[in-house]
């Protein structure tokens, strides 16, 4: 349905002036006017909000965008043998660098651990402060916010934008639209562009990218991310959260009655009245809500928080800012819309609407001097401290500590041994039995190392290396390049009389010559059935 735009002032009359300017806006998801899924989207024009939460969101936006754009350009000196990019996912060489941490593919369990932590972190955050991820840090939220900044700067705030939408095409409208979409595309390109720098040396890649020398996958990635950023941030916006994202469904299952949610406090707001003086004269009960619709006008999801908790609400808290500003203006306490828990809300509702009543009686929550009653429960930040969240936090912290300990004490020297299978053993001319092995020594440090290789648990045995004319040794040394795997064939021979069993287990030992690190591998010696 279509409502012609009407200016704020049109609602004001001299005789019966609303306490606050009324915004002509209707929530997009109102139950009684629910539109079928196949109808076109109803465009939302969020009004700019001012206040504590808006400032906090600017801050979060600066931090998150800053992290995203700046991280690949941070340098971290790792010596001559490794890249100096602080965060680098080096797919070609199969390494992940994160400041002082370097992860090899077989250490991927750290990433799995991080994902487990992220999962439990989601439980923790959601059960304590609700959908904070959606409202503040989700890339969709942050980028839509950024796109809205551009839209406001070019086309003006809500009313101007609505007006512009309805205007016939003119030179100025075309110019505004071209300017807006150009800036959007620029943001989209730089968003996609920043992504690829995590996968290669950023300054080199930037140069290659701009001179057309980068790999085609770089251009394809940037193109795809540019397209998704532009489409999701500029065009689809709240539809991504409402229809496409599984997160709201998952998060909804994690909330309980003690989780913080953005709440319209009916118990002091209702019955709402736009013309409070008249209602007072008529002797009607009056709640704090002046029905100015400011909360709906600022909502980026286009909903009315006064309809209660809804799937669409991302708890960005901009309606709190909008309502607080109105409450200040009309001289009421802030917090008509506030972060509150369902438990506190229900308590206050029972106070305002005793058993058996169907209407809220606002006078029941106020003292005779007009201030809020002492039995009102105000949700404080302490609500996040409760057994459930503490348990989540402990599990989360425990995994984090275990991983940190593992990371701090992990070995940077590793040994794998492959036993020749064909043939399993060889009888030599003098009757000795010989087995062949391929040692794989992993030097996971950024410096060249020399390791001493020896065997234990196989008495009377000797080793020989290919290409050394059968000279036998009991110990030998190999040099391993920094951050590399060194493969070395080794033959182990033993006198048949010392071989008591058809199969004997013994141990290969590699020891860093200049350090304390050592690694072992339990190998088998096949003596044959003779």
């Amino acid at each position: 349905m279509f409502i012609p735009w009407v200016g704020v002032n049109d609602f004001m009359s001299i005789s019966d002036e609303p306490l606050a300017p009324v915004h002509d806006v209707e929530p997009v998801n109102r139950r009684d006017k629910q539109r079928p899924l196949y109808t076109a989207r109803k465009k939302i024009h969020p009004k700019r909000a001012e206040g504590t939460f808006r400032r906090f969101k600017w801050f979060v936006m600066a931090i998150t965008l800053g992290i995203y754009y700046i991280t690949p350009w941070l340098r971290w000196d790792r010596g001559d043998y490794a890249p100096d990019q602080a965060v680098l996912i080096d797919l070609v060489h199969r390494r992940f660098y994160f400041f002082f941490i370097e992860i090899w593919p077989q250490e991927f369990y750290y990433v799995a651990g991080m994902l487990v932590m992220a999962g439990i972190g989601l439980f923790l955050i959601t059960s304590s402060v609700g959908r904070a991820w959606c409202g503040y840090t989700c890339p969709q939220t942050v980028w839509v916010d950024l796109f809205l900044v551009v839209e406001r700067a070019v086309e003006g705030d809500r009313n101007k934008r609505i007006k512009l939408d309805q205007e016939p095409w003119s030179v100025s409208k075309v110019l505004k639209r071209v300017l807006k979409h150009s800036i959007w595309l620029l943001i989209a390109i730089s968003t996609g562009g920043a992504w690829i720098f995590y996968f290669a040396d950023a300054p080199t890649l930037a140069h290659e990218f701009l001179t057309g020398e980068a790999a085609s996958v770089a251009y394809t990635t940037v193109a795809i991310l540019t397209f998704t950023t532009y489409t999701l941030g500029g065009w689809m916006r709240e539809q991504v959260c409402t229809y496409m994202c599984p997160w709201p469904r998952i998060q909804g299952a994690m909330l309980d009655e003690h989780s913080l949610t953005v709440t319209y406090n009916n118990w002091r707001g209702e019955p709402r009245s736009r013309h409070q003086k008249r209602s007072a004269e008529e002797g009607k009960a009056i709640g704090d809500c002046v029905d100015c619709n400011a909360c709906v006008a600022v909502c980026p999801m286009g909903i009315d928080i006064r309809d209660g908790q809804q799937l669409e609400c991302i708890t960005c808290a901009l309606c709190i800012d909008a309502c607080d500003a109105v409450m200040d203006k009309v001289g009421r306490e802030r917090g008509l819309i506030s972060y509150a828990t369902l438990a506190d809300y229900n308590h206050n509702m029972r106070l305002a609407m005793p058993e058996g009543n169907t209407a809220i009686q606002p006078e029941r929550v106020r003292k005779s001097d007009g201030t809020l009653s002492d039995s009102i429960k105000h949700t404080t930040i302490r609500s996040i401290l409760r057994p459930r969240t503490i348990a989540y936090f402990l599990v989360w912290a425990l995994i984090g500590l275990a991983m940190s300990y593992q990371l701090a004490t992990r070995e940077r020297l590793e040994l794998n041994v492959l036993h020749d299978r064909n043939p399993l053993f060889v009888t030599l001319a003098n009757g000795d039995i010989r087995n062949g092995y391929t040692l794989k020594v992993l030097n996971m440090m950024q410096e060249p190392r020399t390791v001493r290789v020896s065997i234990s648990g196989l008495p009377g045995s000797e080793m020989s290396l290919p290409g050394t004319s059968g000279d036998t040794v009991t110990v030998f040394y190999i040099d391993v390049e920094p951050d590399k795997l060194k493969s070395q064939r080794v033959y182990v021979r033993a006198k048949p009389e010392t071989l008591t069993d058809p199969v004997i287990n013994f141990t290969f030992v590699v020891q860093d010559v200049f350090g304390s690190e050592r690694a072992t591998y339990e190998a088998r010696f096949e003596a044959g059935d003779e």
Binding site: P36, Y38, P423, V426, L428, R434, G467, G470
Partner: protein, 291 residues
């Protein structure tokens, strides 16, 4: 449109398909727009993709409108690229003396890898896929060599083969058939067989062996040597070690003296060329017994 025929559901006000099962009717809601556009998008993509890529099968191949993509050509190009990438190393191999290949680590690695792959194709039929050999086919992993285990000797054996008549320079030797040709009688053969077993400390009849010593001195030392260490120039095996090509039991040794078997190995130079033979020589030499 025939509005008069429309069935409208009373409760929802939505048109139904007119089908009814046990009184349950199917609403005919339009498709969601996002679904519809995705569907149209897929159709558009399919048409474009079918034109872009080979898609309609013809008798010889498929339609080639824009991309001209061919998996067969891709493979050919990849193979050629692999050959081109190695052409330097191949040229180096051709120019390097086979004994000097191991001085260049990269070249040696390339030769061993290439040799291993050629071995699987040309040699494994007799010598086994792990070069472990079998009765009559030498084990190439051990350090007992009939014709010598230095890289040059292995190279020569590979290049010209063993008892391979078509190659003039082939390695040639033949042990007389002492029994079949009546040079020794059965008792003498049994005596000498026991004597042969004594060299490597195997169980033997001392009395018979004692008799065999003189027979050995008269008939065998020319090739196998007085201490039975063999002679690599003649391909005469060492009879004092633990490696037996045709088996070490008295019966097996008797059989080999009476009517010896002789293995034949083809000459590979003509078939594979110098570079491939060099690779194989380096590979066989690297198996653990190279001298």
């Amino acid at each position: 449109m025939g509005d008069s025929k429309k069935n409208i559901d009373e409760i929802s006000g939505v048109e139904t398909t007119g089908h009814s099962w046990d009184g349950i009717q199917e609403l005919n809601n339009p498709l969601p727009r996002w679904w519809l556009w995705t569907f149209y998008g897929c159709i558009a993509f399919a048409i474009g993709y079918a034109i872009y890529s080979p898609s309609i099968p013809l008798i010889n191949g498929a339609t080639q409108v824009i991309s001209g993509y061919s998996r067969r050509a891709d493979v050919a190009a990849e193979l050629q690229a692999a050959i081109d990438a190695n052409s330097d190393l191949v040229a180096q191999l051709a120019a390097t003396d086979v004994a000097d290949i191991s001085k260049n680590a990269d070249l040696e690695r390339f030769a061993i890898a290439g040799g291993a792959s050629s071995f699987k194709v040309y040699c494994s039929q007799c010598h086994g896929s792990g070069a472990q050999g079998g009765p009559g086919y030498p084990n190439l992993n051990d350090d007992a060599w009939l014709w010598g285990g230095s890289i040059d000797q292995i190279y020569t054996t590979l290049a010209h083969g063993v008892r391979y008549q078509q190659d003039e320079d082939t390695r040639l030797s033949e042990m007389p058939a002492f029994g079949r040709d009546g040079i020794l009688d059965a008792t003498q053969i049994k005596e000498v067989a026991n004597y042969v077993r004594s060299f490597s400390g195997l169980d033997h009849d001392a009395a018979l062996a004692k008799e065999g010593a003189s027979i050995f001195a008269d008939n065998c030392v020319a090739c196998h040597g007085e201490d039975a260490k063999g002679n690599k120039d003649l391909g005469a095996p060492n009879l004092s070690d633990a490696v037996w090509l045709y088996g070490s039991t008295t019966d097996e040794i008797v059989s080999q003296i009476r009517n010896p078997k002789h293995g034949v190995m083809p000459a590979w130079m003509g078939r594979l060329g110098d570079v491939e033979v060099k690779k194989l020589a380096v590979y066989v030499h690297s198996l653990g017994g190279g001298e």
